[in-house]
């Protein structure tokens, strides 16, 4: 314990005495601070105190010194722990207070205290030195807490929980608090609850006129209806695809898999545009059915139907990714047990396999539901007059009457809906155990599907797959025609203008999309592993550890997913534009936004996968002398292969395709692909938008294949064996 404390104290001391205390103009990664550690331009806290009389930085350093003294003193474990907790709490308190007290240009609070001091000119945001000091206080705190607890308390686990809580606090709660405060703003700029409640419960939001009377429903009602339908639809489709992929000998499985993954890697708006070109009033299908069957050309696509269709196309893959892990995870012996009890394949499926997939079904539904609530691209393109909360929020912020307060209230409505769905899911799953992968090796075969169910799956999945395929053909086709939907002559012009290169005088990337393309790939490849790591570690803590406030902790990690991207974007600007944490205009803010927005998917997937791993595997590892970290690394992580892959792919892809949060966070230096595409769509340059999207889709496909190769498949049974009913029948006949 003393050694670990000393290590972290030294870490903090390095941050405080050697590294620049303030955030740097060029950014940390420019490493300009390295060649000028002594340069007064990049002073450490120590230098600031000594040379520039920034006396307010003294208290944290004093706390750090107190920490050093504490570990020198001859003290018992409990005493030292208490000392460490006190030192670290005080230290971080002082850092935070000085950060908020002295703003960028002037002091904000304690004005009389700071008057006339060097604080009068303000200070920039916290830099790498400050972050190291805060981290050192955080881990001293967790070491202290671990020291106070007895028995199985594990420094790694407590440190992990502390890290996650701190990160979620800073990057979820802190910005969201900014928006919530805005929700309670009154018309005159003050704060009060009465306007909030009248707006929250207003008939404009919750109106039921589409059910009674002949008006339209409020966006909240529309959103709930759409989200429920989408949740159910995507879960069923996802299950169907998962069953075909794992339980049948369907020949074109690989193709099917690619098709089900395609929509997830499609930039926003593209599916909507393709649907318009197929089913819009001037769409291909509409024209044909008019020419062939004289079916009236109508605008049926615009409204609920179109949004629902495009959401099904967009979100089925997420359900599929969740379901496939779960379907694969159902222990064959359970199904075999059922079959030996004279259950038919159908009975086995409905009474054994399906209930065992309950966590997967619940998670898939929850994801579909929340995705649909937060989706903003599809309703924007296809919604017509069917208004949903996400678009209402967006236009409350950017519309002709910009009203952030109204947006915040609508955001609260959306949040309420998500929380309700989350609680409903918890209630439905209950406290049952769904562990089926135990340490006892399983060599059985997963039950095949009975032929009725198999054909039902095929009947649903194949037309859907064909439909998806057509939509994608339309997209690729669209990128090669001059004027999509009007002049269909072949051209390469869209690709040349976006991704053109010139070779004369060296390779030059002259296409207009290169900048945003490279930035996007960089940011997505940094964000993806961090997101997956954060998500799965959180899942590990949630599934395997018991601690006070766990439910609240789980909920808080889901929060950022529940909040619409637009609100997240605005909240990040509000929270991170000024010191102490100044991140706007950097690439880091995009990475962080992606991490905390997409982490919940890693968490859900990780929880679903981990609740199928028997706890005795962890315990075996621990009793064999491994610590929690080794156990996590060598036992749990390898068994979570599919979940890790899913989390990596999902976060990578989401970083590339998400738009609503990004719109407010992209900066001149860090522009993202989606924001570029949206601009093109707005200007009707569909060809360019589609060509860019096609390139992105291909990039993501390549990345996914690469990831699949790297992470590999989980090797539990030597190969996936699916009972082959035909073979069996043949054997039986041969015996007769």
């Amino acid at each position: 314990m003393k050694n670990k404390s000393l290590l972290w104290l030294l870490f903090g001391a390095t941050g405080a005495c050697l590294l620049p205390w303030y955030a740097l103009e060029d950014g940390f990664w420019a490493f300009t601070w390295i060649r000028s550690l002594s340069d007064p331009e990049y002073p450490s806290a120590l230098v600031l105190i000594l040379e520039q009389s920034h006396w307010w930085l003294m208290p944290p350093l004093v706390a750090l010194v107190a920490g050093f003294i504490a570990i020198m003193l001859p003290m018992g474990r409990k005493g030292l722990s208490r000392m460490l907790i006190a030192v670290s709490l005080l230290g971080s308190f002082f850092v935070i207070v000085q950060g908020f007290a002295i703003g960028l240009n002037e002091p904000k609070i304690f004005l009389s205290l700071l008057e006339g001091s060097s604080a009068a000119n303000g200070q920039p945001g916290l830099g790498v030195g400050a972050i190291m000091l805060i981290a050192s206080f955080l881990y001293l705190l967790t070491i202290g807490i671990a020291g106070l607890k007895k028995g199985t308390a594990d420094i790694f686990i407590i440190g992990l929980i502390g890290t996650i809580i701190t990160l979620v606090g800073v990057f979820v709660f802190f910005p969201i608090a900014h928006v919530l405060i805005t929700a309670f703003e009154t018309a005159d700029g003050g704060y009060g609850a009465s306007r909030f409640f009248s707006r929250y419960f207003s008939g404009e939001v919750w109106g039921l006129n589409c059910l009674v009377g002949d008006g339209v429903c409020g966006p909240a009602i529309n959103s709930v209806f759409l989200a429920t339908m989408t949740g159910v639809g995507t879960t069923l489709l996802g299950l169907t695809f998962a069953l075909i992929a794992t339980r049948t000998r369907f020949r074109a499985k690989r193709l099917l898999r690619i098709l089900t993954v395609l929509p997830i890697i499609t930039p926003p708006f593209v599916i909507g545009l393709a649907l318009i070109l197929l089913f819009g009033r001037a769409g291909v299908v509409t024209e044909w059915s008019y020419a062939l069957f004289d079916i009236e050309k109508s605008r049926w696509l615009y409204g609920f139907t179109g949004v629902y269709l495009s959401q099904l196309l967009s979100f089925t893959p997420i359900a599929f990714l969740v379901m496939i892990g779960v379907v694969e995870g159902v222990s064959p012996s359970m199904e075999e047990a059922s079959q030996t009890m004279r259950a038919t394949q159908w009975q086995t499926f409905t009474q054994v396999s399906l209930p065992l997939m309950r966590p997967g079904l619940a998670n898939a539904f929850l994801l579909g539901f929340i995705e649909s609530l937060a989706d903003f691209g599809n309703p924007l393109v296809l919604g017509g007059d069917f208004s949903v909360l996400s678009t209402e929020i967006y236009f409350a912020i950017v519309g002709a009457v910009a009203d952030t307060s109204r947006a915040a209230v609508l955001g609260m409505v959306l949040l309420t809906l998500t929380i309700t769905a989350f609680l409903f899911q918890r209630w439905w799953l209950g406290k049952k155990s769904y562990a089926t992968v135990t340490g006892k090796a399983d060599s059985g075969q997963n039950s095949g599907l009975n032929s009725g169910l198999k054909w039902a799956c095929y009947l649903v999945a194949i037309p859907w797959a064909v439909f998806t395929a057509i939509v994608y053909c339309m997209i690729v086709y669209g990128s090669f025609v001059k004027l999509w939907g009007y002049d269909n002559s072949f051209t390469l012009e869209h690709y040349i203008s976006t991704f053109g290169v010139k070779t004369e005088g060296g390779l030059r990337f002259v296409g207009s999309a290169w900048d945003s393309y490279i930035t996007t790939l960089q940011i997505a490849s940094i964000a993806a592993p961090l997101t997956a790591l954060l998500g799965l570690l959180t899942a590990y803590v949630l599934v395997r550890q018991r601690f006070a406030g766990k439910d609240l902790f789980e909920f808080s990690t889901m929060l950022s997913f529940a909040i619409p991207g637009t609100v997240v974007g605005i909240s990040y600007i509000l929270a991170f534009n000024v010191p102490p944490i100044e991140l706007t205009g950097t690439g880091i803010i995009l990475i962080i936004a992606f991490m905390f927005r997409n982490m919940p998917v890693g968490v859900r997937g990780g929880i679903a996968a981990m609740s199928q791993l028997d706890k005795s595997l962890d315990e075996a590892s621990i009793t064999l002398g491994a610590n929690s970290f080794t156990t996590l690394r060598r036992v749990i992580a390898p068994l979570l292969g599919p979940a890790i892959l899913a989390a990596l792919i999902y976060s990578f892809v989401r970083a590339i395709t998400s738009v609503s949060a990004v719109i407010f966070l992209v900066s001149a230096k860090h522009n993202m692909a989606t924001s570029f595409i949206v601009g093109r769509v707005e200007n009707g340059e569909f060809g360019i938008a589609i060509a860019y999207s096609t390139v992105l889709i291909i990039t993501m496909l390549a990345a996914i294949l690469l990831l699949q190769l790297i992470v590999g498949k989980r090797k539990l049974r030597k190969d996936t064996r699916v009972q082959n009913t035909e073979n069996k029948t043949r054997l039986v006949q041969a015996n007769i």
């Binding site: 960028l104 950017v398 002709a400 952030t404 001149a668």
Partner: protein, 341 residues
């Protein structure tokens, strides 16, 4: 020997240091015009001044939201392009600062904008509001071509007109304000409600209706004529109509953000964007708006503002928050959910 090494290191250090100082002239631009136009502006400006420009394209609403959110510590120096109303709002909220640019060569509507805003925003282009119809669809359905705003009331256009929602679109708000200025408030709203009977959808975005008309998703659209010209010149069967009663217009603007970190470069940008040579190039990227400098050349395809009956659009009144909120809430009550034909 030692001395020489030390000298070398010092010189190298100086070189690195000075480089860091002199390369610092840069400019952050948020651009609310079309991407290709933004790209053209940036390339030209960099070439002419040597200032390094970082540019991001955002719609006017998004740009305003960002400027507002970042007001305490702006990351943007200049906001270029996009309809004038949000620029005026930003000026009245103190989010932008006067550029002190010379306006002598500018056309009246541009100077007007500058005067209303105490020089905080200047007009760079203008575009008139108009109608467009899909000629193929119209003949297929045997509908007469509309010539005036009032023609749109005709029941033959039932379900064939598309226009944006003024709550979300600046274009549609310009239309609403134009109607009020043309016909007086009460008549304007009853006319809008009557036209509303034929509207198939109030879109979120102002440019969406014309695109839909171009592709044949709707027969008639209301929007800015330069957008229509661009669609028509790229090949869509759109016919553009300047309504007989007269019409309003938008003025695209440029503003320098308050507390801009690169104020000098920002001023250069404003100067550059009003330069006739710059403005005359806009047609290269299919921007058919009318430029604000009287010495700029106007593209032949551009709607000729001289032949269009333009109203004397009152930007000060209709750009004010009070008028805006009153008109929009009346629109919500009278027009939005009007029964359809």
């Amino acid at each position: 020997m030692k001395k020489r090494t030390a000298l070398g290191i010092t010189l190298f250090g100086l070189a690195v240091h000075s480089q860091a100082v002199f390369a610092a002239e840069e400019l952050n631009v948020v651009c609310s015009a079309e991407q290709s136009w933004c790209d053209l502006m940036v390339a030209g400006f960099e070439e002419q001044t040597g200032v390094e420009v970082a540019m991001v394209r955002k719609s006017t609403g998004e740009a305003l939201a960002q400027v507002r959110a970042e007001s305490k510590n702006p990351k943007i120096d200049v906001w270029w392009g996009g309809t004038g109303d949000p620029h005026l709002i930003a000026a009245s909220e103190g989010l932008t600062q006067a550029s002190g640019v010379d306006t002598t060569d500018l056309l009246g509507w541009s100077v007007n904008l500058s005067n209303i805003s105490d020089g905080k925003t200047v007009g760079i282009y203008a575009g008139a509001l108009g109608l467009a119809y899909n000629s193929e669809l119209l003949s297929e359905k045997n509908m007469k071509a509309p010539a005036c705003w009032k023609d749109l009331v005709d029941v033959q256009y039932a379900g064939e007109i598309q226009v944006a929602n003024p709550n979300s679109s600046g274009t549609a708000y310009t239309e609403l304000a134009t109607f009020v200025q043309l016909f007086g408030e009460d008549e304007a709203f009853s006319l809008l409600a009557d036209i509303g009977k034929n509207v198939n959808q109030y879109t979120k975005s102002g440019s969406a209706p014309s695109k839909a008309a171009g592709r044949g998703e709707t027969a008639i659209s209301i929007g800015f004529m330069h957008d229509m010209v661009k669609l028509a010149s790229s090949g869509f069967p759109l016919v553009i109509v300047a309504p007989c009663e007269g019409t309003g217009y938008e003025v695209g603007a440029v503003s320098i953000i308050d507390k801009a970190k690169n104020l000098e470069s920002a001023k250069k940008w404003v100067q550059y964007s009003l330069d006739p040579a710059t403005q005359s190039r806009s047609v290269e990227v299919g921007a058919y708006q009318v430029p604000s400098n009287s010495k700029s050349t106007v593209a032949p395809e551009s709607p000729d503002l001289a032949t269009i009956k333009l109203i004397d659009y009152d930007f000060a009144t209709y750009g004010s928050t009070d008028t805006r909120e009153r008109l929009l809430s009346r629109w919500d009550a009278d027009v939005k959910n009007a029964p359809k034909n």
